[in-house]
């Protein structure tokens, strides 16, 4: 009897020790008090138009709530610039404290030790704030490296209701309508109005087609899976849009597609959530948003890659700064703050925010949310770079009719494998 009491007490002691240790490991920084004055360096690459209206007003409110925190915001001209500047500055010991990043910065930043692991720093209460898809979007190898603020960054079908009144369900419908809207107005042999325009040569756009034909870029071990039927089919498809159906401009990059749509010279475009605000404000556009249509061959809708933007805390910060950053992240993802993002047509990461009327009632936001559900999260492993860089030249060659889809698929696969190997 004494022996069993002894064993049980040892067990109880051991168990309570274990629990108390793991409880201590949870640091709940978002709940801790700040004891010093802290200045946070916040680097971002949000749209210029949103910097002042969105970020600065949030920062002001934040500074009011926490009087001993000051936030210095620095803007970067592009995502690439932000990544490189953060890296360079960090290596020179002058890095920022918190960075507004697309999800895929987590890959390189976590491997290089630039991003701070957050699992143990966030309280469970804070973690429960987000929708299920959020935190995994910025986690790798079981550890969370950032907190999502906006979800999506996804492509969808957008149309000008001044030209076409509704979005088609299937691609053959779209092609028909687009053909009717590809017109040579002045009879000079050159088309003036196009049915469809999108970023023809950019892999990110092609990925939506690839997914619609059932393709995906990786297997479970992150080996490239580009040499598949889905790749060939989707390449053939985009090729036909240009050469067979002739509903897209011969050369169209992002800026041209954007300009054409804003001028009212194109009926359908495929663009992302970041462009919605600009189109809503454009004079010549009455904006409609819908999922990318179904492909007859597979019965699947277009499947764009989804990601989003979030906040990454840099590693090796002093404790007080960590607390300040955590509070900042908590604030930016609070329901009130998320409302501002929703007003700018972004889908939030905060669960509660999905109940906001803007999402429920605005047809454009509903269309965006619908498309998000049909998308698939983009892998954030650094190997994705190798994929993009292998797809791009092959896609370009197919679109200039220099390479057959079959040969292109093989080329993509080979180059992707080489690229990934070279990174190691």
């Amino acid at each position: 009897m004494r022996k069993s009491i002894f064993t049980v007490s040892i067990l109880v002691l051991a168990l309570s020790l274990i629990f108390s240790v793991s409880a201590a490991a949870q640091q709940n920084l978002d709940k801790k008090e700040l004891t010093k004055e802290v200045t946070l360096k916040f680097w971002e690459t949000l749209d210029v138009t949103l910097d002042e209206s969105l970020l600065d007003s949030l920062i002001k409110k934040f500074e009011k709530k926490y009087p001993n925190i000051t936030v210095e915001r620095t803007h970067s001209g592009s995502v690439e610039d932000l990544r490189q500047n953060t890296q360079t500055a960090y290596m020179g010991g002058q890095g920022p404290d918190v960075v507004w990043s697309p999800f895929d910065h987590v890959g390189p930043f976590s491997i290089m030790g630039i991003a701070q692991p957050l699992n143990e720093l966030m309280s469970q209460e804070m973690k429960d704030k987000y929708i299920d898809a959020a935190l995994p979007g910025m986690s790798l190898r079981g550890e969370t490296y950032g907190v999502p603020v906006t979800m999506g960054n996804h492509l969808m079908l957008m149309y000008n209701k001044n030209i076409v009144d509704q979005a088609p369900e299937t691609w053959s419908e779209l092609i028909e309508v687009a053909k009717a809207n590809t017109i040579d107005e002045d009879g000079d042999g050159l088309v003036d109005k196009y049915g469809l325009a999108y970023n023809l040569n950019e892999p990110f756009w092609w990925a939506a087609f690839h997914g619609g034909f059932g393709g995906w870029v990786f297997d479970e071990e992150y080996n490239p899976t580009l040499n598949t039927k889905a790749t060939v089919d989707s390449l053939e498809f985009v090729h036909s849009l240009k050469f067979e159906h002739e509903i897209v401009p011969k050369e169209s990059d992002y800026d041209l597609m954007d300009s054409l749509f804003k001028e009212g010279n194109v009926a359908f475009i495929i663009n992302g959530d970041w462009s919605i605000e600009g189109y809503k404000n454009a004079k010549n556009i009455d904006l409609g948003v819908a999922p990318i249509p179904k492909f007859e061959k597979t019965g699947k809708y277009g499947q764009p890659m989804t990601s989003g933007y979030g906040l990454i805390m840099l590693s090796d910060l002093p404790r007080q700064k960590q607390i300040a950053v955590m509070k900042f992240i908590d604030f930016i993802t609070s329901t009130a703050a998320q409302e501002l993002f929703v007003e700018n047509n972004f889908l939030p990461s905060n669960k509660q925010a999905y109940g906001l009327p803007q999402i429920q009632n605005d047809p454009i936001m509903r269309g965006s949310a619908k498309q998000l559900r049909l998308g698939k999260p983009m892998p954030i492993v650094p190997e994705m770079r190798g994929i993009w860089d292998a797809v791009r030249p092959a896609l370009q060659s197919v679109m200039s009719d220099d390479l057959t889809p079959e040969a292109a698929a093989e080329q993509m696969q080979q180059e992707a494998e080489e690229n990934i190997k070279s990174m190691q």
Partner: protein, 291 residues
């Protein structure tokens, strides 16, 4: 300058050639100007018209009064001014020595000045930044309050001067080479020392090369953005190129303002060129020295 007068036909042909060349040179810049007037931030337009429909100067107004354009301008002028001073003084003296004097290390010294240029700039960015950071020259703290010059600005000035020097030193040397040494010899005979001979006789004769040195130093500092954009994090310290990237975003660059800023950035360069080109084609005669 050729003393022969050209025939009328020759002149007409020259004018035609120049007119066509000017059109080619200026057209893309006009398109940039057109973008700055176009409402709605469209980089491209499908029409060839330079002046778009509903043209407006709104972008200029927002740029100058709402964005910190004037602050960026002040910072750029600051950094550029000192770069030019340093560039001109160091290049004119170093180039003189390379031209006139024979001393051990002369040839390798000249080649040394070329070395920085040969390394791809993208790989120099990181170590340059680390070096500046170690000396505290990336800090945004102001050291000269009256001018608003920060430590980071000093870092940039040093960097820009060293980037501009190679061409300037070589240029000055090449120009000095065309000035006969007999002039200094005459000056020395007249009782001037070496430095005075250089400063009072030779330097004025090298005006065209000085103009190029000044212009080139100016442009190096005025347009550099790769290092500036990493070093400058405080908005009030931005130089023009960094401010320009402030107007850019991944997909929604404020093209009208960006174009407007580009046009405005170009104007001081043109102004300085206009001012200095007087010396570039002054038509100096060296007729005072024979022999």
């Amino acid at each position: 300058m050729s003393v022969k007068k050209d025939s009328k036909w020759k002149k007409i042909i020259f004018h035609i050639i120049l007119l066509i060349s000017v059109v080619i040179a200026v057209y893309p810049a006009l398109r940039v100007f057109g973008t700055s007037l176009r409402p709605g931030d469209s980089l491209h337009s499908t029409s060839l018209a330079i002046i778009p429909d509903n043209a407006t100067f709104e972008a200029y107004r927002t740029l100058i009064f709402d964005k910190g354009f004037l602050i960026w301008l002040r910072n750029s002028l600051l950094v550029t001014f000192f770069t030019v001073i340093i560039g001109v003084s160091l290049a004119s003296t170093a180039g003189y020595v390379f031209s006139r004097k024979r001393f051990p290390g002369r040839k390798s010294g000249l080649t040394f000045f070329l070395l920085t240029q040969m390394f791809p700039a993208t790989m120099l960015l990181l170590p340059m930044y680390i070096l500046l950071a170690q000396f505290g020259l990336t800090e945004q703290t102001i050291v000269v309050p009256f001018l608003g010059m920060a430590k980071a600005h000093i870092g940039l000035i040093i960097m820009y001067s060293s980037t501009a020097l190679p061409l300037c030193v070589w240029q000055m040397k090449g120009y000095y080479d065309t000035i006969p040494e007999s002039l200094e010899e005459a000056a020395l005979v007249d009782g001037l020392n070496q430095f005075q001979a250089f400063y009072m006789i030779i330097l004025p004769l090298a005006k065209p090369a000085l103009v190029i040195t000044a212009l080139f130093s100016f442009m190096t500092a005025w347009n550099e953005y790769m290092v500036a954009r990493v070093v400058m994090t405080d908005n009030s310290l931005y130089t023009l190129p960094v401010g320009l990237t402030n107007l850019a975003s991944q997909f929604n660059t404020a093209w009208a303002q960006f174009a407007a800023a580009s046009v405005l950035i170009m104007l001081p360069v043109m102004a300085i060129f206009l001012l200095l080109s007087r010396f570039l084609v002054g038509g100096l005669t060296l007729g005072g020295v024979k022999g």
